[in-house]
């Protein structure tokens, strides 16, 4: 049953991603992206990462995509025009995507011993808590990168404020 859940939401994620590309109106594309992110959250949860799943929903679907939709609504963006696209996209794009796919699958398959394995959907029936583990790692061994990242984000916020208010 957990496997069925995994497969269903994996397919929903792929369908959402394809719909994102094929839709002509930006707001429909943004909504497809939300579907992709929500199904990714379900996949994370079925792999035993419930904190990551909740963070994915709150941060990506709940905050970042709301801003996307907000901007699309505010600018009243119209439907995009279909063009043939550039030649380079056809020549380099498809082989490039195929090459990246092959490379990633090669790396994952050859290094599967080091990456470790997880039980597909096995965590849904028996609840494990990895929040304590995540916070322990974040605030002990990874404390410096964590704090540096937050300072980086703070600098970005201040930069955005300065750019937005010229008369400051």
């Amino acid at each position: 049953m957990q496997l069925a859940l995994f497969i269903i939401f994996g397919l929903v994620a792929i369908a959402g991603a394809l719909n994102l590309l094929f839709q002509r109106h930006p707001i429909n594309s943004a909504l497809s992206l939300i579907v992709v992110m929500m199904s990714l959250a379900v996949l994370y949860w079925s792999l035993g990462a419930e904190f990551l799943a909740a963070a994915q929903v709150i941060v990506y679907s709940g905050a970042i995509m709301v801003l996307f939709v907000f901007v699309i609504m505010l600018l009243n963006a119209g439907e995009e025009e279909r063009t043939r696209g550039s030649r380079i996209a056809y020549i380099a794009g498809i082989p490039g995507a195929a090459a990246i796919f092959c490379l990633l699958s090669f790396v994952f398959l050859s290094e599967r011993k080091q990456l470790g394995t997880t039980q597909l959907g096995g965590y849904l029936s028996s609840a494990v808590s990895n929040i304590t583990g995540i916070s322990h790692i974040l605030f002990t061994s990874l404390l410096l990168p964590f704090e540096v990242t937050s300072i980086l984000i703070l600098v970005a916020i201040l930069g955005a404020v300065v750019l937005a208010r010229k008369e400051l």
Binding site: E50, V57, A63, V66, L67, V69, F70, M73
Partner: protein, 353 residues
Amino acid sequence: MNHLSQFQIFLLLTVLKIAIVLVITLTTVAYTVLLERKVLGRLQNRWGPSRTGPFGLLQPLADGIKLFLKEDMMPLAVDRPLFILAPIIALSCALISVSMVPFGAQTLFHGVDLFQVADLNVGLLIILGITSIGVYGIALSGWSSNNKYSLFGSLRSTAQMISYELALGLSLVGVVLRAGSLSLRDIVNSQAHHGMLSWNVFGGCQFVGFFIYLMAAYAETNRSPFDLPEAESELVAGYHTEYSSMKFAMFFMAEYANMITVACVATLLFFGGAGTPFGHLFEGIFTHGFIHAVLPILWFISKVFAFLLLYIWVRGTLPRFRYDQLMGFGWKFLLPIAMVNILATALALAFHG
């Protein structure tokens, strides 16, 4: 029930729990509307609805029948799929978050908790996540209506909800720090030792967090004094201007269901959930039997009811904010105070905890 397997019992009980909780929530929504009209009426020195049934008690039923039977108008220029999807998103998000709420003391029956639909170890985060998804209902309704008042209403509402979500989330961190868990059941249990004295709002010294939560929650649910998205004097009816019949009713129900959820969460996090306020004082009186099982639910309901009354009282008392005041209040007042509250709680726990 012995011939059923563990999974079948779980499935049956869960479906039953979901059905009961949905029915109770929707009935409460209907009667909260009546309560609001009655109390607002009394606040303004008039009767409120009093003609339908005794004391106007059948008014929600009459309203429901009226909204069901009305013609469902759909303007020509709307974006049809999103116009239909928006109220569904709003209502379903409002109803899903009730499933995390523990309504009574933990009562296990064949390994299934009877008074909570789902006990998740990240329950609080899930409620926050579902609330943030609920923004889409309002945002999309305004955009797909193709009407400038609707769009203004939904833009205001989106900006307001994003801004106040920060203060809302940060105000809860103090409680999570004290309980050491994100599971709502654990948070309630952490306040159960000495009755009222160990509730987070009194004994836990989280009253600052509580007031931030209360104000941010009013803004999150688009209620007065933060009801700018549907300010009648400026925007006709805001984001649901173009909606009629059942679709309008869904927005209406979503607003009240959100109110109930927010009241439940406030009760759970700051007022000890289903715990008694007297602690161990009257412990020996009802040790078993029906009253022992029902008493926690009665405490829970009375606390939630008190919050709903407070909502209505505030609506009848305070005037609406201006838009820049709203944003300034959220970002320059609530957010810094919430951070100071986190810092103070963390320091206190580090020295005494």
